[in-house]
Symmetry: C2
Subunit: 344 residues, 2 copies
């Protein structure tokens, strides 16, 4: 059997798998950040009118899905699958956000790598002939994440300089088999990579090796170099992980230039917003992708983009038990032009 | 585009997607239950030689994967993807079990529905031409589940009669594109179904409506009746959910007979083992499938089986916040014979 695999683990999407529409919903701090003008949907109430942070997070996903589906020109009945997940225990952000739809649902857990994980599985479902249209979405919320992973906000715990700030935001993408753009051209799922980092206050260091593994694999498999892309965007490595990724890849003679950036660096202004190493959380890459990158691709400001989300796969329990932090990075290659080889 | 969809949401697997091998690893109580003779790999130490219950759970998955891959005749290098998840916060059972492999990994969260969710995504990946071989696996552990979802064991909390006993067990399946049997012929992913149940001590009631939705959909879509199958097996509805599912379906004139059973009813002897409504947990359906059902299909005792796992998608936090419990049920149709229409 000829499978759609290139090299050691990049997969070519043969047919049309296109972004039909997308939407982001963010919180107050994200709206006030450097990408604020990109975010149409936001709330200055961190509860989003709900009665808990967890319900607020779920509400953001629901809203993002509503806006994205509306913009796609389709209704929920036209969509086969939802791929969604989040950081909350048992992924309640997603489980409750999809409760009122009748769309068949695949729950994911990829920590902050979830947005690309969902896009990969969605693209595979469409290209494999199982769906005409799918949704990929995810979210995070600063307040629900802090109390679950770290300390209740009321403690006022001091964070190390390497720590990141969980983005309050959700992003939703509707993918379809239509001939439009941007299209998903390749996907490169991640393998777990654990370099022995144990510091929960330094996620960038835990995730950077996984990002290096996936990006190197993709470039090797496709025979391309970083210069071939308008933008290479990692999910939420933050400042620490951003530097580390560049450093790690340089040992393999891969040099990331000005076309490389990280969603966690873009979403906040580190001079005026006290976010230490930058943004993090599933909602970081999801809102930057849906609010900033995809709209810029639609107006052809970017035409060839690598979107790579990174996840730290530990839990507070595993860390208390002395475990290291495994990382993972999933990559999606988005392109506006180029030939499509075969229609599924 | 012609997608592989039948009716409202059943998907036909056109090529060969076969079970190459499988393995179960269980705990002491499961070994002493009515299916004990089916379980080759077990431990009477609930820690499995590890220093925490969570690490024990992860170890079980790792062992199940090792045995399943060995039996497949392949090595890890021949396998493209792992689809895995579990009940632990941030799915650490799975994340740590796959850490030492280089296989590309998709983390799932489907609560106790994870085994069929992984099989569905795995079958779609192979049939869609993205993989030659994949792994689907999951686990649960009584002690890690009790302390996370309910009370520390030391409290000796009294459980209601409708409560279930989380199975200590893991199951792993290797799927491949080889012409062998049993094969996956159809898949029917679940949609979320929430009938307003709030009682965390009655998961069977929370999940039964989702099971009814998926099974009715599959039977309608394929134009088949329950009598057409040698075995219809739900994941972990337990006694309460088993009765409810039969009752719910009877209102639609679907009558489940003696060929219907539930993994949660099969794995323990309710007369001698104090498990109340029966077994539950991701490991319940996973170990019954891999220890009991698939071997019985290999020796043609069963030839045509519906395997439907059910998940309760709440968390302790959502329940404390007064939320209801959404359910989901994913179905896989396994068959030994019958024509394969197209090889991918």
């Amino acid at each position: 059997m000829n499978i759609k695999k290139i090299g050691s683990g990049t997969y070519k999407i043969h047919g049309n798998v296109s972004v039909l529409s997308c939407a982001a919903v963010v919180g107050d701090m994200e709206k006030k950040g450097p990408l604020g003008h990109c975010f149409e949907h936001y709330s200055s109430d961190e509860y989003f009118g709900q009665d808990s942070f967890e319900k607020a997070e779920s509400y953001m996903q629901k809203e993002a899905m509503k806006y994205a589906v509306e913009k796609s020109g389709y209704t929920a009945e036209d969509i086969e699958f939802i791929f969604a997940g989040d950081l909350l225990n048992q992924c309640i952000g997603s489980n409750y956000s999809v409760r009122d739809t009748a769309i068949q649902f695949f729950g994911l857990y990829g920590a902050c790598s979830t947005m690309a994980e969902g896009l990969i599985l969605g693209a595979m479902a469409i290209d494999g002939g199982f769906a005409s249209r799918v949704i990929a979405m995810t979210s995070s919320h600063f307040c629900s994440a802090e109390r679950q992973f770290r300390f209740p906000l009321e403690y006022g715990a001091v964070r190390p300089r390497s720590a990141q700030w969980t983005v309050t935001g959700a992003g939703c993408v509707v993918l379809g088999c239509e001939k439009t753009f941007p299209r998903i051209r390749h996907v490169c799922p991640g393998a777990v990579c654990d370099m022995g980092i144990k510091d929960m206050g330094n996620m960038g260091a835990a995730m950077a090796p996984a990002a290096a593994l996936t990006l190197k694999r993709f470039l090797d498999d496709t025979g391309t170099t970083p210069e071939d892309y308008d933008l290479i965007l990692s999910g939420d490595l933050g400042e620490v992980g951003y530097d580390l990724l560049k450093n790690l890849l340089s040992h393999d003679n891969i040099f990331l230039g000005n076309n490389y950036d990280d969603c966690g660096r873009l979403i906040y202004d580190r001079k005026t917003q006290d976010v230490h190493s930058g943004g993090s959380g599933c909602g970081c890459s999801a809102s930057v992708l849906t609010g900033y990158v995809l709209p810029k691709m639609r107006c052809r400001e970017y035409n060839n983009v690598l979107f790579m989300t990174t996840g730290a796969l530990m839990s507070p329990i595993s860390s208390l038990q002395g475990e290291t932090i495994p990382g993972i990075a999933h990559l999606v290659h988005l392109q506006n032009d180029g030939e499509v080889e075969a229609q599924a």
